[in-house]
Point group: C2
Chain length 308, copies 2
Amino acid sequence: MILAVCMNPAIDLTYSVGSLRPGTTHAVTRVHRRAGGKAVNTARVLAQLGEPVTLCGFAGGNHGIRLRDGLNDTGVTDALSTIANETRQSVAVVDAGEATVFNEPGPTVSAGEWASLLAAVDDRIDGCAAIVMSGSVPPGAPSDAYAQLVGLAQRHDVPSVVDASGEQLRSALAAGPTVVAPNREELAQALGLPVGDSRELVSATAELSRRAGAAAIVSAGRDGLVAVAGEHCWVARPPRLVAGNPTGAGDALTAGIVRGVAQRAAWPLVLADALALAVAAVAVPIAGHVDLDLYRELLEHSVLEEIY
Amino acid sequence: MILAVCMNPAIDLTYSVGSLRPGTTHAVTRVHRRAGGKAVNTARVLAQLGEPVTLCGFAGGNHGIRLRDGLNDTGVTDALSTIANETRQSVAVVDAGEATVFNEPGPTVSAGEWASLLAAVDDRIDGCAAIVMSGSVPPGAPSDAYAQLVGLAQRHDVPSVVDASGEQLRSALAAGPTVVAPNREELAQALGLPVGDSRELVSATAELSRRAGAAAIVSAGRDGLVAVAGEHCWVARPPRLVAGNPTGAGDALTAGIVRGVAQRAAWPLVLADALALAVAAVAVPIAGHVDLDLYRELLEHSVLEEIY
């Protein structure tokens, strides 16, 4: 079992419009609605891969009920904690080629609700092969929310994968995660280091790994990923680029990482697998799903280079 | 009592963002949620003016419950008909100066649900001083929905005010409305006539009045309005322009028109009143409300010109 923690899930609305023109009124031609949030997407990809996965996090109000409903036929086990305030919405406006996203702030959670989430994770973590936590935290959650969850995982001897940003990422580094997996921009922002060229990116990833005492895997979109684990560094590039929707590709990458960590797989295998999942997610218009045939094809052609 | 009919109401979400940049992700800093839809806004302005007003229309699902909740403290009497599908949402993204609006399509209504709405209006229309109907119609409503409602009003000898567009407006013209009140763009689109300069606008408004056998009042934003009733034509200009949110100004104008019609007031008084309400609505950030002090001030300084 893998435990996924999504502290700030959302009802994701995708609005199809002819052409987005600021300052005008648009008739939305198609509305697609689904349960969303980074760790929700990751949990769904894990379920699609046949991995048993349980989702912890916050759900409140009508949107919270809808969030739970949205998990029904995904294979993800619902262990969400009910809160008083309502789960947020997120709106992605999609026109010819690109997505413009509006993320509502999350519902404010109380200290008691935060304690309930910790208790829910504590109840379920024993015997889990790994825990993955990702995405923003709602107002009211402690500034060291990620650090607390990582500490809990460590006390239970369960490996943890963290995809966070800003202060949450910085405080998590000291708590002893197994893998930290931000994207390039989050890495630059958290450490205040340049990541513009591949040399800088490798160097900053190594610094992140050093500070966390953990493996660091940094996604760089079309450039693939950079990973540093102990004395080793790899750069992995997608075997080919795929047209589609990049939203959720990072969450599929995280799914590959946590699955590899759960299986205690060797790093090169983990990285190749995660990158193939990320590219196979781009091919599917809906975040939180991968094209399994494309995934298997890409897996055989991944380009992994050991830098040192 | 004034009856307001909103066939395609919405939960209106207003998202405040720093700056709207297509193709990027935005953190929404503030979410404002309220019951919306053109006739809902009009009903709310009428209630603010102390007019007894009842709202008919469709409400379904969680958003429908929220729509009804949103009427609770407005003074508008809820006579909405419950439908199986869910009431839509509308999202207005507001940055420094302008609003970018995304309107979901409405919930599909069945023939039985349409009949229920007609019955609800039929039950309440006797003794009403006027009926006002405005806005889009949801999928499944008949293409002559407005014409059916206007016909019903006529059979009960209740004056009707119609703010519609396209085929719905065209079919309503033949059904004998008392006032048709589209905006300039809707007028141009419905009749296929030019409305670019004020001479063309006056001429097209006269043609609309002739075809409807009714008064025609056409709003033209900052240029004020043009009205043709019988042998008379007026142009009214706002005494001064007000900075703010123009969303809902047309619905406040409609509120002034239907109130004037209900009171059997003389046209020049109706027009001056309606225009003052429209400008006083711009001063309030939330659609469906007017600045009553500003309204009273503007009313004394309206500029009304009789063209013929």
